[in-house]
Amino acid sequence: MAEREAQEYFQWTAALFDRARVFDKPEALRGIRVLELTTLVLGPTTADFLGELGAEVIKVELPPGGDTMRYVTPEATYWKNASLGFYPENHSKCHVGIDLHAEDGKALFRQLASRSDILVENFRAGTLDTWGIGYRQMQQGNPRLIYVADSGFGQWGPFSQGRASYDAVAQTVSGTIAITGFTGRPPILCGIFIGDWFGGLMAATAALVALHHRDRTGEGQLIDFAQSEGLIRTLDWTWVRLGLTGRDRGPAGNRDEALVPAEIFPCRDGYVAVAAARDAEFTGLCQAMGEPALASDPRFATLPARQKPEHMNPLLDTIRAWAGTLARAEIEAAGARHGFAATRVATARDKHDDAHLRARGSVWQYEDPLYGEMVEQGPAVKLSETPARIKWAAKPVGWHNHDVLMRLLGLSPSHIKDLEERKVVGQWADRNGARPPADWSGGPRI
């Protein structure tokens, strides 16, 4: 690619995707309303991914405590009276507190569902059906409704009844943990709620598939999504190998068994991942290491040759020895110069401080009316015409009660007051996680 041509391309993309122009563009899911009755991570992420793309998300919580995730935060520390674990999956939502054990609360919820396009819940299978506000009841009032039931084990089948589930249950039952980590060491959990997040992504994807069907036919439908099944889907060649050869898969440490070379190596000031599966990339890596002859060595010259364990092991040892003498930035620069993949294992600070991620909005900085300056992981994909965005941060329980009940259901202030007095509608408990920051002095609830 000619230098000048390339420069011109990146000028064009910089203008096309300009972070500063995000709010001048429309939203892909404008006009789509998502009603969310979920807790922890799986359900909230399902709705959050749709919200980032422009859907209006009404998050219903049971007052006054609300979502359990309000009390899940690193080392149990709160910031401005809020859980740091609650922000990443609850953006730009309208927070409503409704007691669904009360008949009048159920009636409010039914009314909200009749005005919604997508409903997301993650109760144990059949709970909302028993309460009279499940799929069977809701789709009668609103046949266009797309009903997403998130769970650990699904709405039916032997494990679906009476068995609780969390992210790590999904990691454990799916085989994910058994193929991760190092042989002979205790098993480890993924350091993030991977089963929840991936599950939310899969559930949101199915909701949009259903939306396309509705765009064509007007019909809503039921989506039964189980997070354990989401993780089983991600286990790449595990199942096909078992089926063909009967060979089980165990942990393989930090190397990629199918691509050679690809491993995470220690270096002078941290860790780097290096990968060079294509022959031209591998040649570049050999040059960078000052070992150009390795590229034509018959043991290493082609990917099928490098994949043989007796060739892979000495090759990875050679790369490890080379990487150990260098700093992260030096190895990254060598990769860019010689055309192979090389990057640091990023820490939270690396991500927070990265000008590239800030320019792309993948680290998203904004000012929230209640919490002030915020810096968070931002929307993943950049859409040129309808960019995803964060508008505001998660809010205390019931923060938007009046806004939602007046705007969507036309309730008068006195009617809402009556519901509040009867504890059908409510807001935050006076405890960290649920309540506003200490310096909040009333005023408008944006």
Binding site: L84, G162, T180, R185, H213, E219, L235, A276, R360, V363
Partner: protein, 444 residues
Amino acid sequence: MSDSPPASDGRHGVPWPQFAKDLSDPAKAHDKPEALDDLRVLDVSSGNFAALFTSSILAEFGAEVIRVEPPTGDVARLYSPEGVTHRGTGLAYLVEARNKRHVTLNLHTEQGRLLLVRLARHVDVLIESELPGQMDAWGIGYRQLSVLNPGLIYLAVSTHGQFGPRAAQVMPDYDITDQALSGVPYVTGEPEGEGPAESSAPTKQGNWIGWYVGGGFGALSVLAALHWRVVSGRGQFLDLTPSEAEMRFSDAGVIWYHAAQRIQERVGGLHIQVFPYTLIKTKDSYSFVAGFSDINFTGLTNIMGRPDLKERFATTKDRILKARELHQELERWSADLTAEDILHRFQDYMVHKRGPGTVATARLNRPEEVLAEPHWWERGVLQKVDDPDYGELLLQAPPWKMSRTPPRIKWACRPVGADNEHIYLKLLGLGKGDLQALRTAGVI
């Protein structure tokens, strides 16, 4: 066709699990319509399982996906543990070729690029994974193709993206580097000093999670763009990096640093946000157990017969900060129990409501043990597909159960170029003679 029987037929008395199964059993998928059968997708990606997973999802829901490979086949067909192949194709590709048509086209030739331009007029979605700017330099990028096809949804997959300070940096996209950049390995694994140096390190997920997360976001954004196209008639350019996609998942990582300048570190099998939420050694294996909120911890200590632990680890904070100590208590309890014993005790407590709290457990299953659980087979999560070209293959099925437009697997894979005659005739009117000439010229 109606989802909902009239109230009078008595089916409202049917228990929920039965009702839900009747509605969404994937065994009946082939009798129902497909949501995306109005969509045609051209996947010209190279050696990239994020892109391949995106097109797999679209294909599972009914899109006509045309995989474009170089005449020698996509390098993705070589990715396989120990280089194992089955009928000429690596194991990983056999999983992500489902329902896709396979044609060949050499984009390194002028004639090949001209053919791609002609194909692009006929498709709704194009997926590529070249280095940023490469397709544009070849004259087949979004700028050029969208002039001919303004409704085109163009998904480009790369590690650093199409814009930003690092966009022009040469960086082929791989799962391991995507995982590393996401920051997830940094917080996964044993902390330094816990064991041998080799394993006390940032640890990748064993599977291609970076690529799978990237591919999932690819499908989500294509579908959002599709809805926008229904509304506006306009296509768009989607810039996807699997590294940022997985980074989006990194819990409180960046906000914790923003709020408290704290960098999340590794804790092995423990957890920094919730505890007990951990793996414990049993007589026969390992089990995961959870009971982290006050009420759920009460449930767990009831099952253990250790109410004293409630006093010693009274608050959420106590349990997180004294996790190691509590973990030892759990393992003292589990040492004489099998994973099955623990599951039985938990289920007994939950099903018979013997006390407060919701507790969860699971035996650590190796993949082979996963296959032994009837639950997954009943739900159609794993499927033996009888493929005309590749024989019987055990594959992970699409993970969603849907009442009206369920996803499905129709076939597993096709040999390189197997659909050249069908696709080039259908879309471009090229006959056998034309194709022979293109073959001779090294174009297909």
